[in-house]
């Protein structure tokens, strides 16, 4: 298990799991969010092949109102 930050919350995750699997575990619908790791954009197309490293900072965002 490694420790990462997801939307600034500390989480323990299985280092072997893909980002796609983790998003599902965390309850997110991959089609309805966008993701960045350590402030770099991660395209949806590579969620399945993306693994997290210890101390990664993961941002998961979804649409809201804006001005």
């Amino acid at each position: 298990m490694i420790e990462v930050r997801v939307n600034s919350e500390l989480k323990q995750v299985d280092a072997g799991k893909s980002l796609a699997a983790l998003l599902a575990d965390w309850g997110f619908d991959s089609g309805k969010v966008a993701v960045a790791i350590n402030e770099d954009f991660v395209p949806r197309s590579i969620y399945a092949s993306t693994l997290l490293k210890a101390a990664d900072r993961v941002d998961i965002v979804s649409p809201v109102q804006g001005g």
């Binding site: 939307n7 600034s8 965390w26 309850g27 997110f28 619908d29 309805k32 969010v33 966008a34 993701v35 960045a36 402030e39 770099d40 954009f41 395209p43 949806r44 941002d59 998961i60 965002v61 979804s62 649409p63 809201v64 109102q65 804006g66 001005g67």
Partner: protein
């Protein structure tokens, strides 16, 4: 000219309404939808934020926005660095399936003004990444020229700081930008508080207005949305009609020739 034929284009896309409107700060999603429809706007600004999974699923304002079926303009509001803005833009492009981006790189948390230097740098990077950039900038002619040189095909100088409703703080600067950059679409973004502010901007030759708070925070957002719809038609027609010159001294409208009661002695 008829309003039907008075179209304008943004990155090649034609629009009739000259109002771009935000989707935030309304009393309710229902009022937001009604107000946006009343405004006649064809372009709505949206954003991306961290949300709990259940919200991210969509029980939110977002579902109402989608139903309006308008052109979306995602923003990078809240970003304070080139890096943040570029990454959020990429996330927006994927999420909203558009290469349009309203670029905001905040330079100061007090007046929320754009950082002129970082905005130019971010615009340059985003254009190279294939984005169609709508840069929120100050009323600085030279920064506007740099943004155009970086490949922005529309510019969005502020009227006054976001949410102040102070209108056009510096009409002289705005007019200078219009005169020096006659061919690029110019939109006043931020600071519009009343319809008269929007009319003034279009009378100066500006092509459009982007606002949010002025409608969302009015006592009656739907009625204010309608007011702005008329304001943009008024301002645009006024520009096309060519206003009379302002005069220093009075001159009568009613003919003086033939005035009665005067008799040469």
């Amino acid at each position: 000219m008829s309003h039907a034929t008075d179209m304008w284009t943004l990155y090649g896309a034609p629009f009739t309404s000259r109002l771009l409107i935000g989707s935030a700060l309304y009393p309710s999603p229902a009022i937001m939808s009604e107000a946006i429809l009343a405004s006649g706007s064809e372009i709505i600004t949206v954003s991306l934020r961290r949300q709990a999974p259940e919200e991210a699923g969509g029980q939110s304002v977002w579902t109402h926005i989608q139903k309006l079926n308008k052109t979306l303009l995602p923003n990078t509001a809240g970003c304070h660095s080139v890096k943040e803005a570029v990454t959020l833009a990429q996330m927006s492009r994927e999420m909203f399936e558009t290469d349009w981006i309203k670029l905001e790189v905040i330079g100061d948390d007090y007046n929320l003004q754009p950082d002129p230097i970082a905005t130019v740098e971010a615009a340059d990077k985003l254009v190279k990444l294939g984005f169609k950039v709508f840069p929120y900038c100050t009323d600085d002619l030279v920064i506007c020229q740099r943004l155009r040189d970086a490949g922005c095909e529309v510019l969005m100088p502020w009227g006054s700081p976001i949410g102040t409703g102070r209108g056009l703080m510096n009409p002289y600067n705005l007019q200078t930008i219009r005169e020096r950059l006659p061919d690029i679409p110019l939109i006043v973004d931020a600071g519009i508080g009343k319809p008269s502010h929007a009319v003034m901007a279009l009378e100066l030759g500006y092509d459009g207005i982007l606002l949010n708070t002025a409608v969302a925070q009015a006592s009656e957002p739907v009625v204010m949305a309608k007011a702005f719809r008329h304001a943009l038609l008024a301002g645009r027609s006024a520009y096309l009609a060519g206003a009379m010159p302002e005069r220093q001294t009075a001159s009568p409208s009613t003919p003086t020739l033939g005035m009665p009661f005067w008799h040469q002695s």
